[in-house]
Amino acid sequence: MRTPFLLAIGFCLLSFTGEALAASCPSGVSATVLGITPVSSHYTKKAIERAEQGIQAAEAFSDVNLEVASLFFPWLSEVTGAIAELVDTELRVSQEERGFRESTPCLFADLLILEAEMEKVRCKLSSETLSSSSVNIGKIAYLKGVLRFLNERYRNLLAGANDPMYVDEGWHIVQIFEEPQQNAGGQEQPDPVCPFHSNYLPPTALGYGCDLEAMGNLRSIASVGEEYSSLETLLARKDEFLSNVANLKDIIMEMNAFTGNENPDMSHWGQARVHREKFGCIDSSETASQVTGKILKNALFKMGGTRMEKRGPFSFVKDEPTLAREFMEMRTYWGEVRPQADDFKYPDEFVADADQAKAEKREESLPFTERVMREFGRIFFRDWNIRQARKEAAIVAKASDPYLQLQRELAMVRKEMRVLAEVASKKDMGGRNLARKLAFFLRTTCLFRPCNTQLDAVLKFVLTDECFPYVDGSFEDTKPGVPKWHEVRCKQEAGL
């Protein structure tokens, strides 16, 4: 009963993909998509190439007659199982749903290519199995391997397209349809491969991202084509605006020269945007020189700076809901990986070697019940950490964000205040300087007259720093009725 049911599911799947059983594989949309060069040449393309090689290898298997052994090979269940694996709710539904909102057209295109390839494999699988009179176990096995391989790559691409720290762990695993590769050059560990490509990111002013150049080849996909044309219109408007205000740069610079203001950074004014690309893994040695030369950006990448974009495709202002949700997830993840208390730690979780040795010693003498209790404890506290992390995350922004925003707004005021404070309080700047020079100048004309005493007093006052406490706040420290500290001190120091 189960098998026909599954067969029915299989047919439903066929219909679910919306394609009629075709003679050649693949057909329809998938065929056109497969003709497109993938955006990511280091990952998707290679994945496709490997898959094609697998398919070739599978094709190479000649027909094997139906043997007795093959009677016991559950080939249909294998096939259906393989196809059923594709129905990965978690991948297809949840993550793809999220991906719909957050993927750029380039990523979408690459994912579509992978899917098309998977469709090709599936089509071959179905045509091989369903239309062939004989069962080619090797071919089925190979194709299943390719399908699984592609699925894994799809998952990794979805997870790591925006994150240069995400390493595809399974890339270097030798698949069933592949020859073991010779290690070249005596490398112990092959280089890690990351599906990250800057073209998957939303377009930036600096040149990265899924812009017109990146999308150029993908226009045959309908939705990407629409995206392309609207982006083209936007850029045309932008260029028109910039050409209209081309004179502004000189005027701005002249006016700033008049008024003594600093010029903003206008090195990129009017420059044509050049498309740039970065892909692969980013490690600490590479980041400093390749990307920006600043360590700050490295941290940004590590914390997922490219994983979340500031403005989603649906908002011009900051996409607060998405960002807040991502933040929540991140904090929850931190809660999850928070180290347990010492009593609950496994020996290898200790950082210091001495502690580790002690723990291992203790571990040997740990009774079984305690181990079980420890497990329960770990689970309990892990849950507790997660919950706590969530609660913390809920209030972090509330507690710190207003202050941080305000601090940013006040930055320019602080800068000017600092200048003003210096001018007001320093002896050789501003009013004090003028008073000092003027008093001295007047003295040269005063000469033996009573104004001399007054000018002396003025000079004494002006040259005493204690008489100008206005910027360090000490003049606020007063009680009513008590003479102000700085007045008394000022008189003392100045000798007035």
Partner: protein, 818 residues
């Protein structure tokens, strides 16, 4: 009857027992007099003699013949006695009628007494305002010494030199003994004016005539004699003052004859003759050194007149008179004259209506006032057109003014800058100026802006040349001029004073404008003419100092005819006067030019010294210690402080003009502090839009998008869609069910995440709104602060020079620029 007589005699005795001289004035001290008068006013049962004489003349008729004695009786309400007395004369009378008549009599007497009391009160009020010059009443005042002292104390040196009045000099002489008999006869005559009568059974005295005589001759008998005489008559008599004809007749032209004011015009010829005798006996030889305007005073001589304790006789060089020191009693209207009552209300003929501006002293009442007394008016020589003043102004005397009164100064009042008020400090320095051209041997020094170089030259008239760049003013003195070199020096030195504080090369008198020329020439000539008058050169003529100055200024401003005085009415007379002046100014003993320069006249030395500045540090100023000189010093100090003592010469903070002097110093360019600092416009702030509904919709959209669904309403529908699993069931039911639960859990997690993040989202959106709102304001605020900082910083960068700025900068300014 006897009872009445006794009673009356007792009454009279009691009356007689009143303090002696109850009706006599002037007995005892002033207090006693005042007390008598007040009591007198209060008494209403004794009438004065004039009333006593007057009442019967008015009221008496055949029916009721009134005698003088009845007046007092009526006042005392003794009507019965009065009626009895009358009855004795005319027979029986009705008592009531007689009583009524007696009441009328007493009423009349009382009213007249009231009028007289009023007159006396008015006199007392007037007297109280006219005490002696030093404020103490009843005290002698030595005017001869006090007046010159006062003028000396107050005058400054420049006043003395510029005041066009040759000061009235006063000499005090002793009265000769030869006048004694005349004094005695005056006393006798005056004593005889007291009317004493016994009518009415009390002795009463009437001092009316005596008081009138004192009032009449208080200004001198000659003034009385000059009344009514025409100008020609006066001129004729003036020509020969020695044979001043004495003429008087008792009825001589009393304009008030027949009226009750007749005492005001009455003359007592015997009194006048005696005064004339005294005047003739004055020692004329002592008047020789006096100028025509000078006067001699003699000490006052007390007169022993009964009833007046402070009557004196005063004698001056040109007049004699009698004076009552404290005039308590006025000249009351005459009530009776020679047996006839004088009824009041009779005025003399109204005077002719005078021409406009000519009338105030033609009115009989006004004539008697102080302002209309005879004035000694300066001779107005240039009889030009009529003085044309303000129509509503009261003009008592006027001469046409000479030169324009406007004095132009470069800056400020230039107090005491014309004329000399200082005494020379360093005579050695002053002697460096020789009669030859000294040129650069002289220098102004730090204490002056100029120095004068006097030298002799053979030109007509003195000349002052332009100040050189070294500050030397060359002055040429000559002997060929209308004035001798001493006065030419004074005249030219005043020109030097005009030039001293002006820039070098300034033209003194370009003679382009009539008023300017007159103004520039008049004052120097005035001072020079004053000097000649002081030296007595003008004594031989009656040309006043102002006239002298005006005529000579006409001469100097030769571009115009009669430049400073205007054309005279009679050109020939003008010429004659000019010749007279020239004649007067000639002096055979005049020093030569060299002498005049070498031995400078004291006044010229003072003027030369006054060229120096008063208030420069290290400079001495010496002057005679009078109030005027002190004020000159203080005033010049203040002026110099305001004009010269400043940080940058030529730039005065007290006036609104810029660059007051053309030789201004090397000032730096305007640093244009903070010219381009822009203060940001304070634009209106705005509240960023808060679209709450939109935000919530965004949230709902996200919720649904997370689960792959479009926004549904209500959003809870997006939370879970069972179709996902159910349409794709797994292999086993168990795994499908488990997966269903897990799917829900997964979605709940996401939703729960979002929901828990709502607080954060809201906070962030809120702070963004706040930040947006603040950003504009903070930006403007920071620009404001930046402007303030720029101001402060640039202010502190002001550069001050280390070298004092020069006053006259003719060279380059590089050493003063930093």
């Amino acid at each position: 009857m006897t009872m009445r007589f006794t009673f009356m005699s007792i009454g009279c005795v009691s009356l007689l027992l009143l303090p002696a001289g109850a009706y006599a004035l002037g007995m005892g001290t002033l207090y006693d007099e005042m007390r008598m008068m007040t009591e007198y006013d209060q008494q209403d049962f004794v009438s004065e003699l004039p009333i006593q004489k007057f009442a019967p003349l008015v009221l008496g008729d055949e029916k009721f013949p009134v005698e003088e004695k009845h007046v007092d009786l009526s006042l005392q309400k003794k009507y019965a006695t009065v009626c009895e007395d009358i009855a004795q004369t005319v027979g029986d009378v009705w008592i009531s009628e007689c009583q009524g008549f007696a009441e009328q009599l007493s009423e009349l007497a009382r009213k007249e007494a009231w009028i007289r009391a009023l007159g006396r009160e008015l006199q007392l009020i007037a007297s109280s305002y006219e005490p002696e010059m030093d404020g103490h009443t009843g005290r002698e005042n030595a005017i001869a010494t006090k007046l010159p002292k006062a003028t000396l104390l107050w005058q400054s040196g420049t006043d003395r030199m510029t005041n066009p009045v040759d000061q009235v000099r006063m000499k005090q002489l002793e009265l000769p003994d030869t006048i004694k008999p005349h004094v005695q006869s005056i006393e006798r005559i005056l004593g005889g004016m007291v009317m004493i009568e016994n009518a009415g059974e009390t002795q009463k005295e009437d001092y009316g005539e005596l008081v009138a005589a004192f009032f009449r001759y208080r200004n001198g008998y000659q003034e009385v004699q000059m009344e009514g005489k025409s100008a020609a008559q006066l001129a004729g008599e003036e020509d020969d003052p020695e044979s001043f004809a004495y003429s008087c007749s008792n009825n001589a032209a009393n304009p008030y004859a027949g009226t009750d004011l007749q005492m005001l015009g009455k003359r007592w010829c015997d009194l006048e003759r005696e005064m004339h005798n005294i005047w003739q006996k004055l020692p004329r030889e002592d008047f020789v050194d006096l100028g025509p305007k000078d006067t001699a005073v003699f000490p006052v001589k007390g007169l022993g007149v009964p009833g007046m304790s402070d009557a004196v006789l005063w004698v001056k060089r040109d007049d004699v008179g009698i004076l009552w020191r404290m005039p308590l009693e006025p000249v009351l209207p005459m009530l009776h004259a020679e047996g006839t009552p004088v009824l009041s209300g009779i005025y003399p003929e109204p005077p002719a209506i005078p021409a406009p501006k000519h009338g105030i002293c033609s009115h009989p009442f006004a004539q008697r006032g102080y302002l209309c007394r005879k004035q000694f008016v300066e001779h107005c020589p240039i009889q030009g057109e009529e003085f044309d003043g303000d129509e509503n102004a009261i003009t008592l005397a006027a001469c046409k003014p000479y030169a324009s009164p406007i004095l132009e100064t470069a800056s400020g009042p230039d107090i005491c800058q014309r004329g000399g008020w200082r005494t020379p400090v360093d005579l050695e320095e002053l002697r460096k100026d020789t009669p030859a051209e000294d040129g650069n041997a002289l220098s102004p020094g730090p204490c002056a802006n100029c120095v004068v170089d006097l030298f002799c030259r053979d030109i007509s008239g003195g000349a002052t040349y332009k100040k050189t760049v070294d500050g030397i003013i060359p002055i040429a003195i000559t002997q060929h001029s209308i004035m001798d070199p001493r006065y030419i020096i004074i005249h030219e030195l005043i020109h030097a004073q005009q030039l001293c504080n002006l820039p070098p090369e300034t033209e003194i008198n370009p003679q382009t404008n009539r008023e300017t020329c007159c103004e520039k020439e008049y004052l120097p000539y005035l001072i020079a003419c004053k000097a000649t008058a002081e030296d007595g050169l003008l004594d031989t003529t009656n040309i006043s100092i102002e006239e002298c100055a005006a005529m000579l200024a006409n001469d100097s401003c030769s571009n115009w005819e009669y430049a400073c005085t205007g054309p005279p009415a009679d050109e020939a007379a003008y010429q004659k006067r000019m010749e007279e002046l020239a004649e007067a100014l000639k002096d055979e003993n005049a020093p030569s030019c060299q002498d005049a320069i070498t031995n400078l006249d004291g006044r010229a030395l003072s003027i030369k010294e006054s060229l120096r500045a008063s208030c420069r540090p290290g400079c001495e100023a010496q002057y005679e210690n009078t109030i005027g000189n002190n004020l000159c010093y203080i005033g010049q100090c203040i002026e110099e402080s305001l004009e010269e003592h400043r940080l940058i010469p030529g730039r005065v903070p007290y006036v609104t003009q810029d660059e007051a002097f053309p030789w201004d110093s090397c000032m730096n360019e305007d640093p244009q502090l903070a010219t381009f600092v822009t203060v940001p416009p304070l634009t209106r702030t705005f509240l960023p839009p808060y679209r709450g509904q939109e935000l919530l919709q965004q949230l709902d959209t996200l919720l649904c998008q997370m689960n792959g669904l479009p926004r549904l309403s209500p959003p809870i529908l997006c939370a879970f869609s069972p179709g996902k699993r159910l349409s794709l069931p797994l292999q086993t039911y168990f795994s499908t069910a488990l997966s269903l639960v897990e799917q829900d859990k997964g979605q709940i997690d996401d939703t729960a995440n979002l929901q828990e993040s709502v607080g954060n989202i809201a906070t962030r959106i809120g702070s963004t709104l706040y930040g947006e709102y603040l950003e504009k304001a903070l930006k403007e605020f920071s620009e404001l602060l930046r402007a303030a900082g720029t101001f402060g910083r640039q202010m502190g960068e002001t550069a001050f020079p280390t070298v004092a700025c020069p006053r006259n900068s003719t060279g380059d300014c590089e050493i003063f620029r930093e």
